[in-house]
Amino acid sequence: MKREPLRAVAYLAIGLLSTGIAIWSGQDIGGAWIIGSYGAVGLFLAWRRPREIVGWLLVGFALAFETLGTTLPGSSSEVIDGHADAGVTFLAWVKSWGGSLWFGTLVALTVLFPAGRFPSGRVGVVGRVAVAIPILFAIALAFAPTATVTFDNGVAVTCACRSPSLLTGLTGR
């Protein structure tokens, strides 16, 4: 077998694996599609060009989206009262600041593409500030006194391909 078909098979396998993990963890089709595509391309780039930060940022984007889309098991009152499992409480805490960090990967991707380093001059200063803002907010939210806990809405109106999942991810709610 030549190298090109082998690469295509490997690429397809990575894509299916990323999408499969996303669906297995409870993502809707729209969410799994995003995670699968970003994760697959990110893993492929990280494999072929491990020193290129852009590939790793795509993987980070997919992982952050995956974490944000995961629904918390149990009831919200358990988490709020402090009676939930340590894992569930930890996940609720990560979700409280993960939205800002997820946005941070998007900003970093935009600023660092394609060279993988900050541009020079005034544009570089603006880029550095733009990347710093979501990171600083994520740190601030992680150490805030309270956090909003999000659970599945039992009476939510849903459909097969929920594009609003993207909006949900953007707002972190």
Binding site: G82, A92, F103, L109, P114, I133, S163
Partner: protein, 233 residues
């Protein structure tokens, strides 16, 4: 929920940070996109092609969102089908990033943009023409045919016949703007073909050939080997 790792929980401005985070990160993203546009305008060569891939993917994705919102407002406020193009174009952004970083078929982007715009414009023009023909022919033929499908059939036939010529003209016009390299190369090859008909001097033909190769392919170095009898020079 109360967080166990809270620092300075009594600080009164925590709610400001918690509610302002969305606006702040949106502003950061807008600034990042601004730097992307500035860098694209200043870029040259390979870097410019890399930016073109990402910006084309962003434009396509944005276009599907605009389409979805337009359909919600104008056609079907409760529908979900209009989100299908948006969902389908999500992977364009990472794929374009992958192509740009790996530099795989990097220079194809001009052709892709040109073809996409060409087909979209042709489809729009033919659809508009089809609509006008149906309305016009029905108005003209109504007294004679009395609600027969003749107007629809004639409109379909005319639109199908005109599709090819319209597409050729639109594509040529779009190529002139978005795929300049192709147009220039095509003109250079046509001019070379005309010169070959009249030129008999080998040195002049060689010179023209090198000129055409330089203009159309833009290589760093050009070399030309010709066989003369048994020897190569």
């Amino acid at each position: 929920m109360r967080l166990p790792l809270a620092i300075a929980p009594d600080w009164p401005d925590w709610p400001v940070i918690q509610t302002g985070v969305f606006v702040a990160v949106l502003a950061a993203l807008a600034a990042a996109i601004g730097t992307l546009v500035v860098r694209f305008r200043r870029s040259r060569g390979v870097e410019r092609e890399q930016y073109k891939w990402l910006l084309a993917a962003l434009a396509a994705t944005l276009g599907t969102f605009v389409f979805a919102f337009a359909m919600i407002l104008l056609v079907d406020p409760a529908g979900t089908w209009m989100w299908i193009p948006a969902v389908l174009t999500y992977p364009l952004i990472p794929i374009s990033i992958g192509i740009a970083i790996l530099r795989y078929r990097l220079y194809e982007i001009d052709r892709i943009i040109s073809r996409t715009i060409g087909w979209a414009m042709t489809t729009g023009l033919v659809a508009a023409l089809f609509g006008l023909l149906i309305i016009g022919l029905q108005a003209v033929l109504a007294p004679v045919t009395r609600e027969s499908t003749l107007a629809v059939a004639a409109s379909t036939l005319l639109a199908a016949t005109l599709f090819g010529p319209i597409h050729r003209r639109v594509q040529t016009a779009v190529d002139r703007r978005f795929n300049r390299g192709r147009v220039d190369a095509q003109h250079a090859l046509e001019a070379f073909g005309v010169q070959l008909r009249d030129e008999v001097d080998l040195d002049a033909v060689s010179s023209h050939l090198v000129g055409v190769a330089t203009q159309s392919v833009q290589p760093r170095v050009v070399g030309l080997w010709t066989r003369q009898g048994g020897a190569t020079r």
